[in-house]
Each structure stands twice: as structure tokens, then as C-alpha cells.
Amino acid sequence: METFKSVFGDYDWDTIQSKIYQTTTKQVEQALAKSKRNLDDFIALISPAATTYLEQMAQECHELTKKRFGKTIQMYAPLYLSNECQNICTYCGFSLDNKIKRKTLSDAEIKLEVESLKEAGFDHVLLVTGEANYTVNINYFLNAIEQIKNDFSTISVEVQPLSTEEYQQLHEAGVYSVLVYQETYHQEVYKKYHTKGKKSNFDFRLETPDRIGKAGIHKIGLGVLLGLEDWRTDSFFNTLHLDYLQKTYWQTKYSVSFPRLRPAEGIIEPNFIMDDKDLTQLICAYRLWNEDLEISISTRENENFRNNIIPIGVTSMSAGSKTNPGGYVVDPQSLEQFEISDERSAQEIAKIISNKGYEAVWKDNPYLVTSPQPSPKEREPKSKIVNHHSTI
């Protein structure tokens, strides 16, 4: 089976890095002058040379996003189901070597957490776990999804890499999108951060989006963990990955997230600092490269940044998030994956969005055909239907 690995093999980290850093202002201007942009243009737009064009990039980013997505921001909330994990990842609070009590939500606990999210107004949930294949596996996911599928119009998952067959099962169970981040595309650096567990297999993770695509999942979310390596070079590879996936699984939608390394239990300091200006440039570069890409900003980011990034290319936001299983009501003190930065509630965020002249969209029904179908009576009336979608 042909996968992204064969494309990835044609590119060399150092060559790409020097290409990015040697970009001239003329190349940036050429990229800015285009209406359809390719990977070379993306390189120009994330280069240091493009930083002086940031306002111009932001203006076009704003216009393109408005044209394609309207003035709307999709709202979602993460629901952490488990912090059990057999991997050692030196930046993550769930890392196996963190000797802290672990928790996996039971059916009853999931119900309580879901009630809290529904009360806050959420209709799109993102299920998150670590990687504990003996206990938190496809059977656990299918059971959890069956339990919550009538409560949310959209279910996304961000769990350990699975097989194509397992992704098919998730698809049939009603999962709309699957997120999997490569963390870094630098193979040697990847090995340093992922020292133990199934996640230490770089290639298996690299080929995961291919399996998701083959399984027919509607949307795939990619991202790199910003702070592990040079964000510019890593972001190029993430874009290369998206470019390949879009051409191969052409019926699928794509989203991108920008997790910046945050403080967490027992973690190391980021090797590479990405400031707000850098992140703004990156968001604009993605949008200028791809009008249809969904762009998500989580509560990892600070209040000021989140307030101001709303009109610049973002299409979905989480709010009031807890990154620990049971964090909403069941067990607020359990081990969290990372500290969030923006602690405002969902309703507060919705108000900020509205003050910016945008509308917070809670429900976005993707017309999923699941088996068995809930009867129309069981479904809540559709308050709002828009033709695009969101995740992290």
C-alpha cells in the first residue's frame, strides 16, 4: 500500500530548512501575489522574510476565511476519557513515568461529564485518551460512543493510532473526525521525545492518517507539537502531509491545529519558543495556502491571543476545557495532560466571539448515517445547520 511514507522519503529536513531560511523578500512577494498557492509558496510565507508582510497576510487570511466559512466560529469541547498511558513522552503529563494515580471514566462517570458539557451548551465533543491498549481500546471507544451519540451532533476522537478496520468501526459508530498529530516530523528528535511505548514507532504514526483516510472517516486533523523542533520546518512537513492526503483521500476534509507546548506535570522546557507573532504568521500561511482548511485554536492559548485571532483565519475554538478525565465534575483533581491557559467559560468565549462580529456555532450536523439510526423523535430539533465543520 502506498502511504505518505514514500512521499516523506523524498524530502530532507536540512534542505527544507535552509530553503525556508534563505527565502528572499521577492519570493515572499511572488507568493503573496498569487491566487492559488503551492507548497513552495507556503515555504515563502512561513519564512523569516515574510514576517514584515504579516499585516498584509492577515488581511488576506481574514478575507479568504470570511469568504469560505462566513463569520462563524465552531465551538467544541474536549472530553478526556482516560489518562492511562503506556508511552513515555517527555513533554506530556500522561507519560508512563509520571507516578501519579491514573483514571479511566466509567459509563456512569461519562454520563456526568456529558451532562456538564451539554449544560454548557456544547454539541460537538472531542474524545481524548492516552494510549493504554489493554483497557482503553476500540471496545472501550465503541461503548463510550454508543452511550453519548445521541447527546452530540458531532463526535471527534483524538486517541492512540488504530488500524484501518478499527477506524472503519469508529466511522460506522458515528465518529465524524479523527485527529492524530505527528508531534514532530524530525525523526531523530521524535525518538528523543518518545522513548518508550508504541508511540516510539515514528513510521506507524506517520502512516496513521492513511489508515484513517482509507477507512472513510469524514475529516482528518493534523498538527505538530510546536516547541519540539523548529516550527517552520516542522510546519512545512505537516503541510506536505496535508497536501498528500488531500490528493489521495480527496473526499475527506482536513483540519489543522497548533498545539504550543504547555507546562505539564514533570515536563521539560520547550527547545524552541514560538511567540504569538510566529503563530499568527503560521495561521495566515496555512489559510493563504489552503482556503478550505479548518483551523482550530484551543485553550492552550492565552486570552489576549484568542480574542484577537478570531478574525484571522480561525474556524473553530474550544472553551472551558479540562484536560483531565473527570475534570468537569467527576474528579477535578485527577492528573491533567497539560495546563490550559484560557480558563474562561464557553459562554464567556461565545460573548467575545459575538463582540468581534462573529457567531459562535454550537451545532453543525454532518448528516452521518450510523447504525442503528436514532429515530427522528430522539433527535433534538436542528437549531443550526451550516455546511462546514470543525474540530481542534
Binding site: A33, L54, E55, Q56, Q59, W250, N304
Partner: protein
């Protein structure tokens, strides 16, 4: 200028020629040689397969010229597959320009039958180059079916109307994993240059050369236009600058 790879073959010229409508076979031969084309399509229905001294083929016997038999006249997948097999046997090439047009007036390509035939022929080992509408979704289906390239039309065949489908061609070029060859409707060298500037991998021209006052001279003009367009594409065309007038700055918060 980069070389062009299609199937297992690498080509220098990005101009493909058709062999119909010329005033004489000698005129055709002169034009093809002047164009420096390396891939020339011939309608299987016009070739006399019974003799080895076919009039058209005799004029195409040059080391640079590779033959691309086409199934012109086929009205459905079944007929096209039959024609393809005949062509493979007679011309000893597994390359095939797949043309299926049930409508004899405008010769509009049949998307459904073309997709069926592409799938079957790819399985039989053919290098299939299907002639199609400028339909981006069909192009992706053809990729999955194993096509070697796609040949979307610029405008109705033989119309010389140029790139009427330009918006769709741009989408196809953007999305395609296989070479995109713009076929049909290219009426002037400027159309060919434009197609190449968009990023098409090659163009196929027939009528515009065959019916020109001086086909040989026109073939040269197309040769130069295709080279110019490709070079412009590779040199990264400077496009018109948009006015960027910032009404209210969006990034001021970064500097506060």
C-alpha cells in the same frame, strides 16, 4: 525546462499532436516533424491493419515519434476496450488515448463509459490517457481507477475556442496526482501557452495545426508557445498584485 514523465516514458516535448484533418499525409509529416512532438495520436479506425504499408503509419516512422493509438469512434466502454486490444496488437504499444463519444455531432466524452473502460484497461496493462470533460471529480475517480494521465478538454473538440473550461482546469491541475494534458479546443499558440502557464503538463493539438494556412509553420509556433508557457510556469509567473489596503490592522495586538 524539466522533462515530462508519463507512465514509464520520459518526454522532452510537452506538445502532443493529432493526425486528422491534414490536407495530405506529407503535410502532416512535415508539421509533426516541425513541432518536435514525441507523441502522436492516430485513430485506430483510420489505420489499415491488414497491410504493413499503411499510408499514415509510413509517414510517422521517425525515431522520435511514439504512437498513441486512440479509440475515436467508440461509443461505449465495450467498443473502446475492443479497439484498444486491436491497437495493442497491431501497433505493439500498450499506450492508449481513450476516447468514448456516443454523440456523433459534438463528440462529447462519455464520463460513465470512460471510467468503466479506464478501470478495465488499466487492469489489462494499458497506459490509459482518457479524453474527458474538465470535471475535477471524474479526474479523481479516474486516478483511483488506475489512469496514467487525464486529458480534460479546453472547449468542444475541433472548435478552436480555446480554454473555455479554465476555472475547472485550474482545479484539476491543483488536485491531480497524475499528469494533466489539456486536449481539445486549443485554437491558437496563445491558448497552448496559457494552458502551460496554468501548470498543465502537456497539451494536445490537432485541428489548429491541421487546418492552418501553413500547417508546418503553425506547428513550429505551437512548439515555441508550449516551451514559452512551460518556462513561464517553472520560472514562477509574477501575477498581478492585489491592492492590500488595511482598513483596520488585524495584527496590531502583537505589538502592544
Amino acid at each position: 525546462m524539466s522533462l515530462f514523465k508519463i507512465g514509464d516514458r520520459t518526454l522532452k516535448s510537452r506538445l502532443f499532436l493529432g493526425t486528422g484533418k491534414f490536407g495530405s499525409n506529407t503535410e502532416m509529416e512535415e508539421a509533426i516533424l516541425a513541432s518536435e512532438s514525441e507523441l502522436v495520436t492516430v485513430a485506430l479506425k483510420r489505420i489499415d491493419l491488414e497491410t504493413d504499408t499503411d499510408a499514415i503509419l509510413n509517414h510517422l516512422k521517425h525515431p522520435r515519434i511514439n504512437l498513441l493509438p486512440n479509440t475515436s469512434g467508440a461509443r461505449n466502454a465495450k467498443e473502446a476496450i475492443f479497439a484498444a486490444q486491436l491497437a495493442r496488437e497491431a501497433l505493439e504499444t500498450n499506450w492508449l488515448k481513450l476516447e468514448i463519444h456516443p454523440d456523433p455531432k459534438y463528440l462529447m466524452p462519455d464520463a460513465i463509459e470512460t471510467l468503466k473502460a479506464t478501470e478495465a484497461l488499466a487492469k489489462l496493462g494499458f497506459i490509459v490517457l482518457p479524453y474527458i470533460h474538465a470535471d475535477p471529480v471524474l479526474c479523481k475517480h479516474l486516478e483511483n481507477a488506475g489512469t496514467a494521465a487525464v486529458m480534460p478538454l479546453g472547449s468542444p473538440i475541433g472548435s478552436n475556442k480555446g480554454l473555455k473550461t479554465i476555472d475547472f482546469l485550474e482545479i484539476i491541475i491543483e488536485q491531480s496526482k497524475v499528469p494533466v494534458i489539456i486536449d481539445a479546443g486549443i485554437g491558437a499558440p496563445s491558448d497552448a501557452a496559457k494552458a502551460m502557464e496554468l501548470g498543465a503538463d502537456a497539451v494536445l493539438v490537432n485541428t489548429a495545426i491541421a487546418v492552418a494556412g501553413n500547417p508546418k509553420f503553425m506547428a513550429e509556433a505551437f512548439k515555441e508557445a508550449v516551451i514559452a508557457g512551460r518556462k513561464a510556469f517553472e520560472a514562477k509567473l509574477g501575477q498581478q498584485y492585489k491592492q492590500a489596503v488595511a482598513s483596520s490592522p488585524l495584527t496590531a495586538f502583537l505589538y502592544e
